[in-house]
Amino acid sequence: MKGRYVSKTVACACLVAILALVPAVVKSPYLLHLFILVYAYVIAASSLRTIAVSGQISLGHAGFMGIGAYTSAILAKELGWTPWVTMPMGGLTAMAVAIVVGYPFTRLRTIYFSMVSFFFGIGLIAIYTLLSGYTGGFYGLTGIPPLFLDSKVPYYFFFLALTVVSLLALHRFESCRIGMSLKAVAQSYAIASSVGINESGYRVLALAVGCFVVGLAGAAYAHYIIVLSQNTFDVLASINLMVYMVVGGIGSFAGPVVGAAVLVLIPELFRGLKEFTPYVYAGVLILVIFLIPQGLVGLYQPAKSLMRKLRFGRWCKRAP
């Protein structure tokens, strides 16, 4: 018996449609805020993965988010430009910085790159302190022009749209030949060079694209929460992004999406445990890395088998 099956594209479209209907059902501003947070992290974690595809694990990614955020916020606040213009500029600034530090840093391989990128994130925070005239120093940057006024609903749609567009853009980047060349560079820079791929150029390209997207996301976020402090995009945020990416599954495009969604929600769900929430979080991390090496997306296949067994077979692609 031939069963219908739901293709990935259709499933994603359905998901987006469902998400678009959320504000009609969910009225609590707190919950909407949670969704928006997840969207921002999904974009950030996915862009981190774009860089990871080229073999570089950046542990300072939130720093670039901060560059985008501060650039856009300061330009909009001090020069009075509309956020719709300053947001892309935030992304471009983050990209420019990425290119400048990319060339020397990209010479470093694997774990040394990670360590230096981590350090770079720390350095950025120090620089924000130095420029406290503009960045507001310890007291934070306030008075950032918001994108919309009053309710969270327009922000919700804005971030949903931004997420969809960013993910589509990043997915295309990875699935075309550019992505293939990046993966080649990640697997063997020697072979990649020998077949004509400018491996350090491509690594910088991945860094630039990833940082542009995350800079844009950071800028959008700045005009949403309208207050920035040095801790908004600190070391913790960078580590979180990496955790979302790896726990979700670094080998799959959907990994960071799933990882961000699940891991942003867990602390919220277990908020009641107060100071013991970190135990739950740590527990989840340990469970996933020990039991599911490919990350949370590794649960997809077993879940499909389970669905099939429970006679939901029509919804799953039939095995050959």
Binding site: C176, R177, I178, M180, S188, S194, V195, G196
Partner: protein
């Protein structure tokens, strides 16, 4: 003279790995670079292909000075290579390994690739065809969908050659192309090398296994980073004393 090496010197710290090497490769020939372990053969390859920068000396390719150029630029100029330790793209299938290597010809622009232009689509279709052709040439078409990491050693060497051919090289540098292979694999490899030569590609190879002498036109013997002697296979064989002095027990040609 397709490739010319003049006065090549390479120091590692205080050690001279290559100490004034002069040699050339004629267009269309198969040149064998032989010498004992540690003679500097792979170092020469690395210097030619830009993976190492010479301390001094000049390398010319097709009349152009390529000394110290980056590896991907040298690949663009038409020099392909294999690697002694046989690296491969470990997460790709055999076919993907080759398709990924078709980076230079035909070349799509970044924008074209990203926005799926018609040129890009046509290029990718061409690449798919050519990838299959190359795999057939090296005899790996049957295993094209296997993951490269599952391939036996000999097949991996052929995969290396296939990848190098993907850049449509004018010259191919093969580092121990039949090393560690069994009789059938050697047969396959020699056929592939011959087919490659017939397509007009110049080949320089490094090899310990003297069976390779059957297809080599000319030989350069190096040791201690210097050229000891050169000539046709016949001349080198006749110079057996010289060869033996440097090879000692390593010669397994008669086996």
């Amino acid at each position: 003279m397709l490739l010319e090496i003049n006065g090549l010197i390479k120091y590692f710290g205080g050690l001279a790995a290559i100490a004034e090497l002069d040699m050339y490769v004629r267009e269309g020939e198969i040149l064998g670079l032989i010498g004992p372990n540690g003679a500097g053969k792979t170092t020469v390859f690395n210097l030619i292909t830009g993976f190492l920068r010479p301390t001094a000396g000049r390398i010319g390719f097709g009349g152009r000075d390529i000394t110290g150029m980056k590896p991907h630029v040298i690949a663009r100029l038409g020099i392909g290579r294999t690697f002694q330790l046989n690296p491969f793209f470990s997460d790709f299938t055999v076919l993907q390994n080759v398709i990924a290597s078709f980076f230079l010809h035909p070349k799509s622009s970044l924008w074209g690739a990203y926005f799926n232009s018609s040129i890009y689509r046509r290029n990718e279709a061409q690449i798919a065809e050519q990838a299959l052709a190359v795999l057939e040439l090296v005899g790996l078409d049957k295993v094209k969908d296997d993951f490269a990491k599952n391939l036996p050693h000999g097949y991996l060497k052929m995969l290396g050659i296939a990848r190098a051919l993907a850049i449509r090289p004018k010259m191919l540098l093969l580092d121990e192309p039949i090393g560690g292979m069994n009789r059938d694999e050697i047969d396959l490899a020699m056929k592939a090398i011959d087919k490659t030569r017939r397509q007009g590609i110049t080949i320089m190879l490094v090899e310990h296994n003297m069976q390779i002498m059957d297809i080599v036109d000319r030989v350069v013997v190096i040791n201690f980073g210097q050229k000891i002697c050169e000539g046709t296979v016949q001349e080198i064989r006749e110079n057996a004393q010289v060869v033996e002095a440097y090879f000692g027990v390593e010669d397994d040609a008669e086996r």
